[in-house]
Symmetry: C2
Subunit: 240 residues, 2 copies
Amino acid sequence: MNSFNSKNYLQQLSIDCVIFGYKEAELKVLIPKILLKKPLYSLPGGFIYLDESIDNAAMRILEERTGINDIYLEQYHVFGKENRINKDLLDNMEEFSKQMNQIELEENGINWLSNRFVSIGYYALVDINKVNPKIGKMDESVEWYNVKSLPQLIMDHGEMVEKALETLRRNLDEKLIGFNLLPETFTMREVQELYEAVYDKPFARNNFQKKILDLNVLERLEKKFTGAANKAPYLYRFLM
Amino acid sequence: MNSFNSKNYLQQLSIDCVIFGYKEAELKVLIPKILLKKPLYSLPGGFIYLDESIDNAAMRILEERTGINDIYLEQYHVFGKENRINKDLLDNMEEFSKQMNQIELEENGINWLSNRFVSIGYYALVDINKVNPKIGKMDESVEWYNVKSLPQLIMDHGEMVEKALETLRRNLDEKLIGFNLLPETFTMREVQELYEAVYDKPFARNNFQKKILDLNVLERLEKKFTGAANKAPYLYRFLM
DNA sequence: TCAAAAGTGTTGCGCATACACCCATGG
DNA sequence: CCATGGGTGTATGCGCAACACTTTTGA
């Protein structure tokens, strides 16, 4: 891996990704923890090469983090307040950077990071079972957090998650993108619990089943016998 | 006015505005014509000062063009293909720039404009009667064009209008933003013709009236007598 | 009195919701 | 045989679309 060189990137423009996953009836977001004295949590992000489209940059950043590359991905908002500076990070790098000279600062991108950045927000929907979260160079760990109980995030990243969730809610029904969060086959109960996690409200079981089946985008497969003392549910596969 | 200095702006990031107006049952877009041998049409755009939010930059650009500043304005998409360069403009400035030296090129922003730009798309809804389009330094003219018969636009600006119109259609009902396109008072027919212009399809008069009135956002005022030999329509005012 | 445009009412359909019931499964 | 959870059917209300009818206006 080459050392950091800010000259390769578009200046003062970044990408941040809200990566949604789903497991055990919870909508989750992938959040790295930055390795510093005071723990900082931030969205996975990155920069755009001079000869790279913003969509490709987002895909590259996602692949770096998740190891998978056929991900549902959508640009949803640009965050560009005038004072959008990564103050949390800089405050906690003071002692770190004091021991460096100017050249070292440049080489490690510290000066670069002290700039104002306009950030393009993307959200991604992944099958959480296929993801092997990769810990970045600056990170201590990467974890899935329930979207309802995220740790405090740096800068405006909390707001970025909020807006991503709003967009997901608006698009879930219309674009039928929810199935990107599920494994290859799933039961109707899983679909319902996913919807309930996204909208944070219950749905009536019979009406929900009817609504989803009437979309005509699911193929009914064999039954799933779990050993439980009840009727075995059908498995489904998404057709599009 | 100061001479152009690219150092004052965020690099390689621009804003382009699709300014919608409405008149005579037509949805219109404000398009400047760039002053060159070959006529070029482009969206009104500009750049972002280093200490300016992107929303404020968009408002400033709009005010420069329209003279009004309480405009409905919404960021809708970022356009960032890898080769997004203003080739049309550069091709037509060759002889122009041949006669300049390097310093003059810099001073006039010609070199700056030859860069790749990521552009944030905004759309605006204005009361066309309040606007006095201002001709920019580089422009030959600024005109309102029917969105259905725009001239050929440079770069991806045609695509930008398309996407802005899609967004407007999605938001018109949900956010009740259409009234920004109408004058202070208006008849129900005008509202309907506006909707028909936006969606490019007819609506049934009685059902449309009922739908709009049931929103409870209009105040019914006095009747409007035009001298025509038919029942006088009510005037309405938008309440929000 | 008449044409043109505005205002209002009625009916039917589709969709979402609420309630109810039956079925399969393993202990 | 029973508790549990899955699958399906029916009634109701609301919003939208299609139809019809009445009212106002100035020539």
